[in-house]
Amino acid sequence: MNAAAYCTEFRVEKDSSEIVRGLRRRDPELLDRLIEQYQHRLFRYLMFLMRDRSLAEDLFQETWLRVMERGGQYNSQWKFDVWLLAIARNLAIDQMRRRNRVVSIDLDPERDEQPFDAAHPRQPSTVDALIEAERQEQIASVLDRLPAYYREVLTLRFHEGMTLEEIAQVTGAPLSTVKSRLRRALQVLAQKLESMQS
């Protein structure tokens, strides 16, 4: 193992054990730091999963409260982000059950109250950029209609850059299921985009 890799690994381990100790003590400074560090990732994940800003905001708060309450259960074998998203996921599932939301492909436009922020083009000053923006909107609207379990694996993989094993840990699904969901999600997404264009 080279020196840089060893240093990185050592830092990650040190960080994890620091988090374990801090969470057991319910250290408010540590919790502040964690909220600061993971706020956008958690919010993005919840937005992708729930398709509803207000629900995502509720779950965002609830997730951090749960992290604080259950901090004693965290152990350094887990990566903190994986554990955090697994908690958020469980709360989201509870929420969906409570609200009896159906997690399926749903093309009902009435449900599309407030989709997550569509991708923003980097330079919206040219015609190309406008075309790109339009395309991004199309993709956002297609994504919005995908079932939650497809959106989830897509965001974990392509937004959060998680490995397949980490996705399996967050979702509690076997690796083979994660792979097939990813494959299928991309196929559905691409098919819908193609049919939109044609």
Binding site: P28, R183, L186, Q187
Partner: protein
């Protein structure tokens, strides 16, 4: 292999390629197929664009939400810390009381028997009195402990109606 099967295989591999490395044989086959098949090449383009779009799309946590979350987490953390420290004290007191009670048990037995003999009480009565006197402090402590927990569950901030903004 029929045409449909070929396309299906290509699309399967295109999905697979986006999250794992294909082996050399599959890669070569896929590239060859994409060169020959505009339909699958278009599909590959769509997959690539979808992935790019996924990576570019944004959702940022609103600062007000983050601030409110920090506040409620701090309040709730303080509350839990205080509760836990009180619980620890109470447990310690109960443990000390139990040890103290066990040590005093023979003396208490003798005192009650001496009083009972003076008052000419029948054996079952003074023995029952001893059991009640011995258990009463423990029962009272347990009742106080349970009562306190119930009150704290109701009063816990940030748990019921969590959203505080």
């Amino acid at each position: 292999m029929t045409n449909e099967k070929t396309h299906r295989r290509a699309r399967h591999l295109l999905g697979e390629r986006s999250f794992t490395e294909l082996n050399r044989e599959d890669t070569a086959w896929l590239e060859q197929h994409l060169e020959a098949c505009p339909e699958c090449a278009g599909f590959a383009e769509s997959v690539a664009q979808a992935i790019t779009a996924l990576r570019m799309s944004t959702a940022v946590a609103p600062p007000a939400l983050v601030a409110a979350t920090r506040r409620s987490v701090r309040i709730h953390a303080r509350f839990l810390q205080q509760t836990e420290s009180r619980e620890r004290m109470l447990m310690l007191s109960c443990a000390l009381a139990a040890i103290w009670g066990a040590l005093l048990q023979p003396y208490l037995w003798r005192v009650i028997r001496w009083v009972a003999e003076g008052l000419h009480m029948p054996d079952p009565v003074w023995q029952a009195t001893f059991v009640v006197a011995y258990l009463l402090p423990g029962i009272a402590a347990a009742a106080a402990f349970l009562g306190r927990r119930r009150t704290e569950d109701v009063a816990s901030p940030g748990v019921s109606g969590r959203r505080t903004r």
